[in-house]
């Protein structure tokens, strides 16, 4: 039993006909157009596609698959647009799909298929379709069980679009294209309360509280058009452009005024610089780095900015938990979970690199020791 379904669609003076054939057994079918007028079959390199011959289409269909064919005609559609005129049993060795279509085989990797015979090919790859070891029909036979190209297959076939990691310099220049992330992370008053217990601590932590809490728990879209309630967004968007109007006047007003009243932040002790130089990324980074590193050591800006952001998020959550006045914000929880994963993976890498650095350093200072 062979079933023919169809769809017709008339656009721009052309009727497009889609045919879908299903069968209960492996059948070889021939379908003929019933619309008066010329049949325009699909063409590959100018030649009618496999299975097409002068207005008729021939193909093999099996249970679980459907044979599809499409063509166009300038005439308006009729009902039915086409009919099955021939229907014979087909042997199991007959490939599915249009008659005459080249068969494709999956190579060892299972991802990319190559044409094995014939010319005028209809396909160059299967983009990771699972062929079940079967000879895959190269043409329009759609397996009904959901076999489709996979994202991995697409990337395998076409290449990874992402910039090769080795080709990208570590962005330690602050005005790199990542300014959106780095610059803005540097810009917010960089969470000094936790890292720099200094004479300005009380006022600074206060200030840090309000923007910090606000950043983390305020759903961005509600308050301004920067929908960035968490992670990168949690600090960057609010403090950079959109927030100054609101958050700094509200929560951070003290900080700002302190800073301006005190004049140049340089007047303050080093620990305070971190908190009082929101506009100078470099300065604030220096201030940030001091509690964490030796003065001589330079940690790339983005790394410091990232750690600072994490620090601030954690501090915000800790404060909320301590206060117990508000429910935990799920967004921040997710962000913290993400932080934990990222930190863990970085920690491993850091450990390895530190080990290597120590070895190298040792070797450089004590060449007699053989470098270990």
């Amino acid at each position: 039993m062979v079933t023919l379904d169809w769809e017709t669609d008339r656009t721009d003076g052309v009727t497009l006909v889609r045919l879908y054939v299903t069968a209960e057994g492996r059948r070889r079918v021939r379908i003929e157009n019933r619309i008066e007028g010329p049949v325009w079959p699909p063409r590959e390199e100018g030649q009618p596609a496999a299975g097409w011959d002068d207005g008729t289409f021939e193909g093999v269909v099996a249970p679980g698959h459907r044979l599809v064919a499409g063509y166009a005609t300038p005439e308006p559609p009729t009902d039915p647009p086409a009919e099955v005129v021939d229907d014979d049993p087909a042997g199991a060795e007959t490939p599915l799909g249009p008659v005459g279509a080249e068969a494709v085989e999956t190579d060892a990797s299972g991802g990319r298929a190559t044409a094995t015979d014939g010319s005028g090919g209809t396909t160059t790859g299967t983009f990771g379709r699972h062929d079940n070891g079967d000879r895959a029909a190269s043409g329009p036979t759609e397996p009904l069980d959901g076999d489709e190209p996979t994202p991995e297959g697409v990337v395998r076939s076409l290449g990874d679009p992402v910039v090769p990691r080795e080709a990208v310099p570590v962005p330690d220049v602050l005005e790199d294209p990542a300014g959106q992330e780095n610059g803005s992370r540097d810009e917010p008053e960089p969470g000094p309360g936790h890292d720099t217990p200094s004479d300005g601590e009380s006022s600074l932590t206060q200030e840090d509280d309000s923007p910090g809490l606000r950043k983390d728990d305020s759903p961005g879209p509600d308050e301004d058009d920067s929908p960035a309630p968490r992670e990168d967004g949690s600090t960057a968007p609010f403090s950079d452009e959109t927030a100054p109007a609101s958050s700094e006047t509200a929560g951070g007003s003290g900080e700002r005024s302190v800073e301006t009243e005190d004049g140049a932040p340089v007047e303050k002790p080093a620990g305070d610089e971190a908190g009082t130089t929101p506009n100078r990324a470099g300065l604030s980074l220096e201030g940030m780095a001091q509690p964490q590193t030796d003065a001589e050591l330079v940690v790339p800006g983005p790394v410091r900015a990232w750690l600072r952001d994490v620090d601030r998020r954690l501090a915000a959550v800790e404060r909320r938990q301590a206060a117990e006045t508000t429910d935990p914000d799920p967004t921040v929880q997710i962000a913290v979970a993400g932080d934990r994963r990222a930190l863990a993976s970085v920690a491993d890498r850091v450990e390895t690199l530190v080990g290597r650095a120590q070895a190298v350093e040792h070797g450089a200072t004590d060449p007699d020791d053989g470098g270990r």
Partner: protein
């Protein structure tokens, strides 16, 4: 409906078409150019963050502007950290949440073009009337066919009246919409607004309107 905007060649106006289509179709425009984004961005999590697992697709959609956008990051560092195959899931998630998505695919024929086409129900091919662009359009068209993204329309950008639209339509196999060269389009794009907002009376705005209508007509029958 998930619609991919592809072109093959760079600089033919894919992003402009995607953005204006997004406005007419009331869709979220996803900038899928993972290495070189060029649709207006702004602040907040972007596609790089989504693909690196740092944000969910829906929260990265920005609804503030005239067209809802899921921008791509512009940093190389972000580009190298993301996992491109997750693009498919991300776009589908946005589609489930918002209904309509226009995926602005990058130039070339690399994986991100294929991923945009893979996730799409249908595609629009953007080209200009130059041999190089048309050649790339043919290749992009073949790729779209492979990945089951039905071609619903061809946009002949910066077209003139002398362009043989019929030949192009025959060769590419879809109706051609000509978007005439118009500084209003470039100006609107530079300002980050659809041309229908700044210059609704221009032929270009009308062309985008026609294009959106044609896509809406074709879309119901292009579901996979």
């Amino acid at each position: 409906m998930i619609l991919a905007v592809v072109g093959g060649k760079g600089g033919v106006g894919k992003s402009t078409v995607a953005y204006n289509l997004g406005a007419h179709l009331d869709a979220v425009v996803v900038d899928a150019d993972l290495a070189m984004a060029d649709l207006p961005g702004g602040r907040g999590p972007d596609l790089h963050d989504v693909l690196a697992g740092r944000a969910t697709p829906v929260e990265a959609v920005r609804e503030g502007g005239p067209v809802a956008m899921l921008p791509c990051g512009r940093s190389l560092a972000g580009a190298r950290a993301c996992k491109p195959t997750d693009l498919v899931d991300a776009v589908e998630t946005v589609g489930d949440a918002y209904g309509r998505v226009v995926v602005d695919c990058p130039a070339g024929m690399s994986g991100d073009v294929g991923l945009g086409l893979l996730v799409a129900d249908a595609c629009v091919l953007v080209t200009t009337p130059t041999p190089a662009a048309l050649g790339d359009a043919l290749r992009a068209r073949a790729l779209a066919r492979e990945l089951d993204a039905g071609l619903v329309a061809v946009v002949l950008n910066r077209g003139t009246e002398t362009v043989p639209t019929e030949t192009i339509a025959n060769r590419l196999g879809a109706p051609v919409t000509v978007v005439p060269e118009d500084p209003a389009v470039a100006n609107a794009q530079a300002a980050g607004v659809p041309v229908a907002t700044t210059a609704p009376e221009t032929p270009a705005a009308a062309a985008f309107d026609d294009l959106a209508d044609a896509i809406e007509r074709a879309a119901p029958s292009t579901r996979r």
